[in-house]
Amino acid sequence: MIFDFWGSHVTVPSDIISAWILTIILAPIVLFWISKKKKWPLVREYMITTNHRKIGTMYILFGVLFFIRGGIDALLIRTQLAVPENDFWVFQNDKYNELFSTHGTVMIFFVAMPLLIGLMNVVVPLQIGARDLAFPYLNAVSFWMFLAGALVFNLSFFMNSAPNAGWTAYAPLSTDTYTPSAGNDYYIFGIQISGLGTIFTAINMIVTIFRHRAPGMKLTIMPLFSWSTLITSFLILVAFPVLSIALFLLMFDRMFGTGFFHGGVGSPIYWQHLFWIFGHPEVYIIALPAFGIFSEVISTFSRKRIFGYPAMVLSLALIGFMGFMVWSHHMFTVGLGPLANTFFAITTMLIAVPTGIKIFNWLFTMKGGVISFTTPMLFALGFIPTFVMGGVTGVMLSAAPADFQFHDTYFVVAHLHYVIIGATILGVFAGIYYWYPKMTGKQLNEKLGKWHFWIFIIGFHMTFLPMHFAGLQGMPRRVYTYQLGEGLFEFNLISTIGAFLMGSSMLFLALNLYKTHKHSPNVGNDPWDGRTLEWTVSSPSPEQPFKKMPYVSELDAYWYAKLENEDLSEANDTRPAPVSIKTIQPVILSGLLFAMSISFIYQWVWLMIITGLAVLSIFPIRSLTSRNEYVEKRVKHE
């Protein structure tokens, strides 16, 4: 469609116009619904909260929202690829490139990350007996920065300039010479801002876990989900600044004419190194917390303590550490030479060992137990074979010369979805079903949950198993079509059918949420017969949990206390709780950062200056307003 804009013609594709129309219709409906249900006070309450459960719930809510967005992208991709030489709607050439670039970026940064961080927020404090995260204000800042970044990123589509250089944004394609539109600037700012929020979360988690554990809970008896959070946080602390720097350099190349990633002195390979030094640890950042969730779920529903706890912790740490030594396995075909390729092939193979150890430990946790097939447990059980299949293709990819064939084909697309969906997404579903009572007080319907699981897992394998063969048959990734004679049709058709099956499973989740909130009563503290401290507080978790601080003397202390028919003994020397406050400052800060990003993307100098100054002014404002409140509270306490 063509518009007249002050005399110049602007062409807008019909998918974007449909999105505009949909927004114009939906937005008033949502606003009206909120008003009618008198939910505005609730919205306000969440905007000014610093409570970990509420912030965690918001992370999960928006993670699910963006999951729908990324999922729609995936279905559009699969529709375009369903049959050879297809011309579905507008999704060819650059439009297709925008599709997979957005799909990948959204799924990694705005789905996997917030869903896991959301669960950490809800669960970790409760699991270690903390009354909140160490820095509640900072936590709110983290969340609102994530949301600002996500909104910047998602805005690009509505402005008809979605990023189009893949989620990896390889230079020099991602520099302004080859992609001059605003798309990749949106990519840079969207990720930069939400990434900064993620770094703050990591600091917050580390301090919380080190400083606010319940009395008696030594690190050596801390539950595994908290352990995985701790190690993940360290990975974030090292990896995300690398991404930040890479994005800054790319921003300078695009906006201020520097030449880090192209030209005579710079090199596009520098970008690849920086990106993957971040990127490989990132895949562990989104896998390790899921491992933590599975450890909790498998142990609970086998009614047995985790097998080989020390090995589980050690392998988490080893995977995290070795995750920094394998990045160039993404660059085997760059031509780094025989020595580099050999080195990174070996380190990559090695990292399979601690991962294998974990798998065996989960299996042996189930051995001799009493396994009940609840929905969270089904997701955990689905994880084991699925993830192992992704893991073995990972080892196959690590053989560098074999990767000369696999690299950048659908074999890799299959592998990455087996590990990411197998671990992260199944883990998040397991976690959401498992801890839903702690978030909302209600337990999701088991029957619908099982439907959700089975349709999802069948659809998943149907989508991604054939992709291995499509890749070996010569289908590169990031292509919008293929020819009839190439022998790719069958594989792709099966994939597409599977993708829609998988997509439809989400309807069962939606129905489940609806039914649960309509009909189910609240449940008690401990609906699953759990083992860790979060099950000692009421559901949903109160804003001031652990009025009586428990003393924790062993792993799964709550479980053993229940076996003895006793309560956990009470501790008398408790740490002061973090000060929770109500403040609108984080929302304002992230609003300003949002505006500042837009001003940079479109190079509106005056707005840059104004918003920049405004962002800086938040710092003194915060310093001047916070201290009083803190002291006041302390005084009242004493």
Binding site: S267, F406, F469
Partner: protein, 246 residues
């Protein structure tokens, strides 16, 4: 009653096992001979195909062990009417078992690492400055640009989006890009090699069958990346000598 149940269970387990092995082993085997990356026409590609199969075989061992234990434990220890109130005995761990699977998995990886290292050291392409000049071979300059390939032969002859090669002759490709990163890929003849701007990379192989193979750009390079394909024709040396002088 109990016996019947156990028998049923065993049948179910057996069926599952069959299904899984069918899916995992036979599906790729059945289609394996036709898949392009598993149908090598050069020594370079054969080495890669060998590694693919070799690693696949080793990994199938891992996969079957895990699947076997998984199916067995899940079916044997599931909650039933009888055990639903039991509290199972706690097992903290088992040093011997844990050491066993750690060493076994290391051993498996060593087995995989040996041929991997050998083939990697031999066949990883290098920058032109670092690789040794191979004078007896046939040198071809390959230039990639958005969105086409051009090939320049030793006598100056060029061809667009069509690469003509003689059979049984060492080929040395000099890969260069005029703009962004591309990747040269003919599954039957060579693995991928990225084509970089500002650097020249050497890719060597020798085609040992005549035939026509579809080549593709395998590194996402922009709007028309999908259509950046080329045809590779391997012909006899005599025909090649004629063609190049045409």
């Amino acid at each position: 009653m109990l016996d019947v149940r156990i028998e049923k269970l065993e049948k179910a387990v057996c069926f599952m096992k069959k299904l899984v092995s069918l899916l995992l082993i036979f599906l790729p085997l059945l289609s394996g001979c036709q898949l392009r990356a598993l149908n090598p026409n050069s020594e370079r590609a054969s080495d890669q195909t060998f590694l693919i199969w070799f690693s696949f075989g080793l990994m199938m061992i891992v996969l079957s062990v895990v699947f076997f234990l998984f199916v067995r434990f899940v079916s044997k220890y599931k909650q039933t009417e009888m055990n639903k109130n039991d509290i199972p005995r706690d097992v903290k761990g088992n040093k011997k078992l844990e050491i066993t699977w750690t060493t076994l998995s290391m051993l498996l990886l060593v087995i995989l690492a040996v041929p991997t290292v050998a083939i990697t050291m031999e066949s990883s392409p290098e920058l032109a400055e670092t690789s040794l000049e191979n004078t007896s071979a046939l040198h071809i300059n390959v230039t990639a640009r958005q969105y086409s390939w051009s090939f320049q032969y030793q006598n100056g002859k060029t061809s667009e989006n069509q690469l003509i090669l003689p059979k049984d002759k060492e080929i040395v490709l000099h890969l260069k890009s005029d703009d962004v990163i591309h990747s040269f890929w003919v599954p039957e003849l060579s693995g991928k090699q990225d084509v970089l701007p500002g650097k020249e990379i050497i890719l060597e192989f020798k085609a040992d069958q005549v035939g026509t193979f579809l080549g593709k750009c395998a590194e996402f390079c922009g709007v028309n990346h999908t259509n950046m394909t080329f045809e590779t024709k391997v012909i006899t040396q005599n025909k090649y000598a004629e063609w190049v002088l045409e």
